[in-house]
Amino acid sequence: MPAPERSHRDGVRQVAPLAIAVVGFGASFGVLARAAGMGVVSPIVMSATTFAGSAQFAAASILGAGGGITSAVTAALLLNARYGPIGVSVAPYLRGNPWSRFVHAQLTVDETWAVAAEGEGRFNPKVLLGAGLTLYAAWVGGTAIGVAFGDLIGDPATWGLDAAFPALFLALLVPQLTTRDARLAALAGALIALVLTPFTPAGVPIIAASAGCLVGLRRARGTTTS
């Protein structure tokens, strides 16, 4: 017997516990972006338009470390490159007019994509929309809270906020280490970045670390399993 079809409300309900964390996560982006010299309005605009946590943190951290615009933008967009194939995977399930498809596409992030998955590569667009709008409000609202209280914080290092960046990236990384190739790519990426740090401007080591994904070439060239 098939399970009853899920609705927008199910999407809202399933990300509700996560939304509380996302408010805090958004607030920490607001605080850190402000500390990185992004001011008050631009972090909020960034959350509203980019809506992708790790890329936003990467851009802010590179800017704060004195890296150039090119490094910050390239690192952020490389981090978001995964949304290419993720978008391709949901595309067949996004019916309706181009505007509706556009909104669904922008709200497709790691968490909403995972919640909307119904197995065997199928996705529920209603769950995606409900979950996406919930997390969007939490992320943008949290960012606004963060920038509002950012200047009460003073030196972020006193509060250990500089350790919040690597902690967050670690928390996002670990669930992705499910395959041997992913672990090899992560190891290669970390090594490339550390080795290049003394010799290149801030930001460049992170972009160069994307070469870590080339460990997958063996697999791509090797036997095609399906």
Partner: protein, 103 residues
């Protein structure tokens, strides 16, 4: 335009374009298998680099300071499947405490 605004505009436009690519342009056609296999490995490679840099880089030199203790706390919390928010709070709290104690 300031550096921050330039970054906000370029990252915003680029991200919107990447997210739109599949649903708006490709019409559901899958990426070539080799390409999607590589793209799937971009995230772990970049995230690991971000962990390493933000833990050990101090400008253009490498340093071991109070951040390492915070990240170690974060690693334990992540391993114990703590929520992301708790992981971040533990890391910041541990590093702040270590600095207050003069580490």
């Amino acid at each position: 335009m300031t550096a921050a605004w330039t970054i906000v505009v370029l990252v915003g436009l680029g991200t919107v374009a990447i997210k739109s690519l599949g649903p708006m342009l490709l019409g559901g056609k899958p990426l070539p298998r080799g390409v999607s296999a590589l793209v799937a490995l971009l995230a772990p490679a970049l995230l690991a680099a971000l962990v390493a840099i933000n833990t050990f880089a101090d400008g253009q030199s490498l340093a071991v300071d109070a951040r390492v203790l915070g990240v170690a706390a974060a690693a334990v919390a992540t391993w114990r499947k703590a929520p992301v928010l708790l992981v971040i709070v533990l890391a910041a709290g541990t590093t702040a405490l270590a600095r207050a104690l003069g580490a």
